[in-house]
Amino acid sequence: MSSPHIRQPASVRHIMFTVLLALVPGIAAYVWQIGAGILLNLAIASATALAAETLVLKLRRRPVAITVGDGSALVTAWLVALALPCIVPWWLTVIAALIAIVGAKHLYGGIGQNPFNPAMIAYCAMIVAYPAIMSQWPAAGDTDFAVQLQLILGGSREIDGITGATALDAMRTGLRSHSEVNAILATSAFGFAGGRGWEWIAAGYLLGGGFLLTRRIIAWRLPLGFIAGLGGTAALFWFISPERFPSPLFHLASGGAMLAAFFIVTDPVTSATTPRGKLIFAAGVGIIAWIVRSFGAYPEGIAFGVLLMNICVPWIDRHTQPAVFGQRQETRS
């Protein structure tokens, strides 16, 4: 055995379970505002993820207990479930969780070695493969668990009035038909800041994010960079033309912005690791998210932003290496 001979009590397991704990307020708000269907999705995703991870580790003859027990598969599963619409049929959640755990994580060697955020790979794959299902969300104000259960179990999706568009969708469609922002915001899908009910969920994520920040589980530069990138770009265009571009508050309170800010761009494995790189990475995600939301073909651009910036991470890290001890001085003299 070699030095150091003492170690601080810290573990990956502790980090992961703290993250799960921090997701609880957001999930509680979700259940309260949108309905309990999300709990079922969380359970499906968790079970699939844990089973898939166990199977892969067994196949590869790697230690199972310690790796499954670290909780990282659960974090991925929860993020997948929270990113998908909460009324997707059960098989879609299963496929998404499988893609995340097996395709995006274990094919690269397991935790810590995947270049792409597994949850976002799953989300993008699903939105590209099943665009129709992926754009159906519970209609605003409809929190009936029985209906959601029926949809999740694969019930017919043809009934109007059960599913509805998200705030981002409504905003897009409205703007495409040349309505003004304020007129669109007055419709029923919107609450006081973002989608009706969704601003409470965003607040829940914000609360959990604050908890993670105080526990130093996540690096503050990542959420800050993301919020600055998304909010800053939105603010700029909103300032230029408030009729055609919604406010930064709307952007930050709708869709998965808060979930992304504190739980997705903060994934240490796939984000940039240098101090400056973290800011660049997260701001890039925010800017791309805004561009895709405003001009692209998909209603939510955060997932694509994350993947595109994941691609750039080696490049960002390479060019933002911090100065080592004594280096700054040397360049000065």
Partner: protein, 193 residues
């Protein structure tokens, strides 16, 4: 503005590798190291820009007047092959520095289908000379971008404990697929005005 749009669209929205799925051979072959990826990208950019311009000239002034546009593919192939060869010879002799950077990649470019595909696409889209040049340059820049980013990830992956059956090319293909998925996020941007 619209010219800038041609370039941006060619680089990001219709990325030659991730969206058009062209030029995969050098994309997989020369992306193991960042330095070589950069060299390959620069060489391709140079050749593709020149090839786009020349192809336009051949198409516009030779094939069109004689009404033999159906020979486009054939004509472009020999022209591009010859250009690459001549470029290599000239660079080899005149600029040892460029030869060091681009030298071993130039012969490989002859087999890059993107170099043929882009002029053909360009001719099909009815681009003018400047547009053809920009389209060629933009596509090649997109190719270079894809190559560099891919090389960065592959270099990193060399340290990863990838399952044995997936080591090497399989995981690289998977990665290219995921990158392609990411670039789909740009879909629709070129249609927005």
């Amino acid at each position: 503005m619209s010219y800038l749009f041609v370039v941006l669209s060619a680089v990001l929205v219709n990325n030659v590798v991730f969206v058009r799925i062209l030029g995969l051979c050098p994309f997989m072959g020369v992306s193991k190291k960042l330095e070589t990826a950069l060299g390959m990208g620069m060489a391709t950019t140079f050749v593709l820009t020149v090839a786009s311009g020349t192809s336009y000239l051949i198409d516009h002034y030779l094939l069109a007047p004689f009404d033999i546009a159906y020979l486009r593919t054939l004509a472009f192939i020999i022209v591009i092959a010859a250009i690459v060869q001549i470029t290599e010879l000239v660079i080899h002799k005149t600029s040892p520095l460029l030869q060091q950077v681009l030298g071993i990649y130039l012969p490989l470019i002859t087999t890059n289908c993107a170099v043929l595909g882009i002029p053909l696409l360009s001719a099909g889209l009815g681009h003018g000379l400047l547009e053809s040049l920009l389209f060629g340059f933009g596509s090649a820049a997109g190719f270079t971008l894809a190559l560099i980013l891919f090389a960065g990830i592959r270099e990193h992956l060399e340290g990863a404990d990838v399952p044995l059956p997936f080591r090497g090319v399989p995981i690289a293909m998977m990665t290219a697929g995921f990158m392609s998925l990411a670039f789909m996020g740009f879909a629709g941007l070129d249609r927005f005005h």
